[in-house]
């Protein structure tokens, strides 16, 4: 069932357009991430849904009801702020109860809901502390708890993890994932961390420059980026985009030549490609390190990032083109070394002059 519906939302600040005709539909219980660079309008869109900002045009509907005219408190949405925005003078319990009291929920019911949320979030013994007495991770949970107890139709999370340190972030991410399976509600999470979005969301809404660039499951977005922006933005480290020229086609599939002369055969349909300059998109896992001369082309190693289970190699082709490759965890590659790169053309992408992405045809 459709839960949230955005219709042609438009918003400007002063003379500056911030959102341009944004429309979106979201299912009940769906977890959607708004992903995009800073300033792309993610928070603004979220705040329009929450009622903290007013759209200049467009409609917001929740469970079929138009809510954009309602005050924030009556929209049946709950929000977790980036800064948590816990009430510093209230205990955890009071923080959670505040919204319910305002909604005149009976006392018993309030207690029950708080107890339950505290159970889920494992903060039962923190209920009488004040936020200042808690660690960052605990505060985060209280902020989530404050949203949960309201049993809203829609959770809105604005960069809920960005204030946490790396260790806590990974843990909290898992917690968020588990949480959403326990509470039956739709969730929108704003983030500019693609790993976060990929991990948590059912669907990702990639935003850039006032518009939605692509909407899709994490895998769709990773595997079939709609355009070069999405391709670069999603995936870490970023996809290499190397200028390429069409050479030939084998079996209807495009074959391209990189600027250093190396040729790569793709599984992308030749005829779908527009005329004009192309860029070849290569994720690091499509480029592996081999002995010099043994691969598609050779390169010089610029930087080695050892991540334990695998190693990322930042290299330069003969003509200066940067390219990121991957190697095993116990790679012996060193900076300055010459290596061979084996490019898996079957996993490559092509982007035309209009920036639209073209992807390998499914293996038959």
């Amino acid at each position: 069932m459709t839960s949230l519906e955005l219709l042609n939302i438009r918003k400007s600040y002063g003379g500056t357009r911030v959102l341009d005709d944004v429309s979106l539909e979201m299912d009940d219980c769906e977890f959607v991430a708004f992903l995009g660079p800073s300033g792309s309008g993610k928070s603004t869109l979220l705040r329009i849904i929450a009622g903290l900002e007013t759209a200049d045009a467009g409609e917001v509907r929740l469970a079929g009801r138009r809510i954009d005219q309602l005050p924030p408190g009556e929209r049946n949405v709950a929000m977790v702020f980036q800064s948590y925005a816990l009430y510093p003078h209230m205990t955890v319990r009071e923080n959670m109860a505040f919204g319910l009291r305002n909604a005149r929920v009976p006392k018993d019911e309030i207690d029950a809901r708080i107890a339950q949320a505290a159970e889920v979030l494992e903060i039962k013994d923190q209920l009488d502390k004040k936020p200042a007495q808690m660690s960052g991770g605990q505060r985060q949970r209280v902020a989530i708890g404050r949203a949960i107890v309201k049993q809203p139709g829609l959770f809105l999370l604005d960069e809920p993890l960005s204030n946490l340190d790396a260790a806590l972030r990974t843990r909290t991410r898992v917690e968020l994932a588990q949480l959403r399976r326990r509470v039956a509600a739709a969730v929108i999470m704003v983030t500019h961390d693609q790993a976060e979005a990929m991990t948590l969301a059912d669907r990702i809404v990639v935003m850039n420059e006032r518009r939605i660039q692509q909407v899709g499951t994490p895998m769709e977005i990773y595997a079939h980026p709609a355009n070069a922006f999405v391709a670069r933005f999603v995936g870490s480290p970023a996809m290499t985009l190397a200028p390429a020229t069409l050479v030939d086609s084998d079996g209807g599939h495009a074959r391209v030549k990189l600027s250093d002369g190396a040729e790569v055969g793709t599984r992308i349909a030749r005829k779908a490609l527009p005329p004009g300059a192309l860029r070849l998109g290569l994720r690091p896992e499509a480029v592996s390190v081999v002995a010099p001369g043994a691969g598609t082309t050779d390169a010089e190693v610029q930087l080695v990032e050892r991540l334990g289970d695998r190693t990322l190699v930042y290299a330069k082709l003969a003509d200066g083109q940067d390219i990121t490759a991957s190697d095993q965890g116990n790679s012996r590659v060193a900076i300055g070394q010459k290596v061979g790169l084996s490019i898996d053309g079957g996993a490559a992408h092509l982007f035309g002059p209009d920036d639209v992405g073209h992807h390998a045809e499914p293996a038959t």
Binding site: G51, L52, E53, T54, Q69, L70, P71, P72
Partner: protein, 291 residues
């Protein structure tokens, strides 16, 4: 920030009560006063149109002109040292020890006294034949300085009294300002080889810029209105050497019953205070980036 702009006028409900009182109790009398300043008027309601007579007389009245000079001198002699001492005190007391807390209390307690008592105390300190300073000076074999009867010493004497009395509040403001400064930048400065003085001048002082502005503005406005100390300590003497504008206004109103004249002087004082305050604000903020 509000939904739907319904609450465009809600703000008035919050600022309204204050603004109403403000208009009725401050602005309306101020306007009445401005009206009065164009009248010959006495305390009991007699009024006669005077045009700019009062102002013309004021600007030709050597006593008034001298009171302006005295007032400005006093402000100049009080505000900078007061600010400096308060700043130093705050620096010294900006620690969490018990002793510091006790000293904060002591420095605050002089502000607690009413002006009557403050002047009384200082009269006894400053009087050359009987004051504490006199005992000290005599003990050192010096002739005690006639602080209250020498025209050139009376203004410094009043200034000292005032500084002693007013120290509490600015010290508090500075203490607060100091606590705002991120302690990390002091460590960074230590690593940057900054000595004590450099740290103070290049780190502490600039960080206190806004506090400094606030203190200086508030104190200037307050000291330009200095009154009780001179009225009680020197009566404006000797020979008018310590008559301030407000004392002049007081004398004109309650001594001579010339309400119109007093009002005109009060308006000129208002203009002076306003001008100085705005000037300070402009000087300090003009080179600040937009925030």
């Amino acid at each position: 920030m509000n939904a739907g702009g319904r609450a465009r006028y809600a703000g008035f409900a919050f600022v309204g009560p204050f603004l109403l009182l403000y208009l009725v109790i401050l602005i309306y009398p101020l306007l009445l006063g401005i009206g009065l300043s164009f009248d010959h008027a006495d305390l009991f309601g007699a009024r006669r149109w005077a045009g700019i007579d009062n102002y013309a007389r004021l600007l030709a009245d050597p006593v008034f002109l001298r009171s302006i000079v005295n007032t400005i001198k006093l402000a100049l002699l009080i505000v900078p040292p007061l600010t400096l001492i308060a700043l130093l005190l705050a620096l010294a007391l900006n620690r969490a020890t018990r002793a510091a807390a006790i000293f904060r209390g002591i420095f605050f307690s002089s502000s607690v006294l009413s002006v009557t008592i403050v002047t009384l105390i200082w009269r006894f300190i400053l009087t050359p034949d009987a004051g504490l300073l006199a005992y000290g000076a005599t003990a050192l074999g010096l002739a005690p300085a006639p602080f209250l009867s020498d025209p050139s010493l009376v203004i410094p004497a009043v200034a000292i009294t005032t500084i002693w009395w007013s120290l509490g509040f600015p010290t508090m403001l500075f203490l607060a300002g100091l606590q705002q400064i991120n302690p990390d930048i002091y460590e960074a400065a230590a690593l940057d080889r900054a000595g004590k003085w450099t740290t103070f001048r290049r780190i502490t002082l600039p960080s206190l810029r806004r506090t400094l502005l606030l203190v200086v503005m508030l104190q200037t406005a307050a000291q330009l209105q200095l009154f009780g100390q001179v009225q009680l300590l020197t009566g404006g003497g000797p020979g008018g050497a310590s008559r301030t504008m407000v004392l002049f206004i007081y004398e004109a109103a309650f001594g001579r019953w010339e309400l119109g004249y007093a009002s005109a002087a009060a308006e000129l004082l208002f203009v002076l205070v306003l001008a100085v305050t705005l000037l300070q604000y402009w000087l300090v903020t003009r080179r600040e980036p937009e925030r």
